[in-house]
Amino acid sequence: MPSEKKSEELASRALEVLGRPREEFRSTLIVTSEELRSLLDAGSATAEARAARTAAELGAFAVGHIDIEKFSSFQQKGAAVPVSEAPRLDAASRTLRSLLELGDDLYFVRVSSGGDLRDSVSHGLGRAGRAFGAARTVELARSGKYDEEVHGGWLDSFPPSLWNRREWELAPPLIVEVDGADLRPGGLMEFLDGNQKIVLVVRGPAPPAALARLITPGVTVLQTEDPAELSLVAEAEGPAIGALMPPDSCRFVHVPATGEGRARLTVHHMPDEEPKRALGGISVFQQADALRHLATLAAGWGLAAAGDVGPSGDGASGPAGAATAADKLAAWILRQADLQEAG
């Protein structure tokens, strides 16, 4: 299907733009995995195995010059891991390696048509979150606090509801393909924490201002049609969500305040058409209400789009485009006022 192909293409563009957060998560996986490998090497080995390991680590220059067995008897013993816990550490190590082997697939989820966006995101993050689960398993095992009852499933899924502050800071980025008709982002609020980056690649008609509901002071929120603009999400400090929207959706960006005189909400485009049809279970009212919300926020901050340049330095909409957006926004606000009077 052409649209599917297009969304795949957009998803891979999104992947590209999210290169840095992806690389950071992968690096964290690698460093953790290597540390765990060292722990396993050091912890469970016999004296002979340790000597063999020492010989390997000292390399060829030591041959004939260093008595390896003796040398290995002097090295610092790593933190002792109870022998009984070794299998658990092995399992954690395998989990980390399997995540590494997943490569970029780790950062993708697809919401099947009619599926629940929130659940899919939770599932995707819970999958990458197994890295956190694995690390916690290791920590618990070596401190003797591991409890199968409580921690048993952590290597299979470690959902965001269990993440701590540090884990949120190291959160894996996620790219989500979702039908416009399933775009109910309200449930995503709980995932916008720490350093979480989420990109929604929206297929087919969608509520034009769906993400407006996510605008809160500390979160970067972006709706755009241009994958390159996703760099605003990738480079944002703190949590950020962006959606690649179908044509004639709202295009806006909200960035947490960075100082006086800098725009927080910039609206680049308002749709030409008002929502007329329900999309999936999303009613006309809900769609329009999101638009109203966006307009209210923009008006409330006195930023009627024109002339406001977000930190993006936004080249997508020149002054003319901005002016049009401003006009439309003004018109919108007026219309809403009329509607309310009429009602």
Binding site: R26, S27, V31, T32, R37, R166, G259
Partner: protein, 316 residues
Amino acid sequence: MSHSCSLLAPVDEDQEFHLDDYEGARARWCPGCGDHSVLTAAQRLLVDEQLKPEETVFVSGIGCSSRFPHYMKTYGFHGLHGRALPVATGIKLHRPDLNVFVVMGDGDCVSIGAGHWVHATRYNVDMVAMMLDNNIYGLTKMQTSPTTPQGYKSNTQPQGSWLPALNPIEATLGITNASFVAQTAEWIPAHLFATLQAAYRHNGFAFVRVLQRCPVFTADIYMDAVRNPEMIDMLDHPDGVPVPESLRQIYPNHLRHDPLNLSAARDLAADTSRIRLGVFFRDEGLPRYEETRHLPAHTADDKIRILNEELDQYAV
């Protein structure tokens, strides 16, 4: 180097830290020494920002102020005279996940370590660099420092300092890629705290000169300024350090100064007829060296694979 840290860390992540979590050995500076006040401000900052003690490193050189790390309960590196900045740079290049604070004296920073001060400013590695400036060598008992006022008598220059004092703020503002340059005074704790907080929150190398009284050797230098707030101009701007509410009345002279305005900053710094406190310059858009040099991590096996490819070029 890769910028990542391992996930392997104890589970108790959401612990709340209090002042005593940051208190190390009892400070042994002289009574009345300005360093006490800086220590308190730093500890308050760590509480406020809830920095993990084990993920925070205070690096210092040698001198009175360089005892600072011993009085914190974080990691500390009390190294060589003048050489705190290279060490801090090395730490941050290898471990950007750590919060790095550097504490130097005036002799440390702008005399023996002057080359490092210039280049650390240019590297713009994300850290807070405090220069505790008491205008004198204290630990070695009163020798002239580069910031000693001209004519001020010391043991090495008993006829009075021969040269005009070096102006660290003006000099730092002249260094390419300087991204945060501020001045505060230890006798104004609210301003000191606000300045350190702005420095900590700044992404890049935050240079803070702290005017600091030495009750033993230079007690008189800042005496007038302490007694007479009229002598001080507070640089005021929301992008810098807004003058704290509690100080607005006491320090009546406020200068509106946009810290993005470098030439205005240089003019303000060059005019030494007034003591100016606040952020002279701040630009988060400048390149940070540890970011520029950021690299992804590799597994041991990956490295072997790449190394073999590289060695192929030298294979016979």
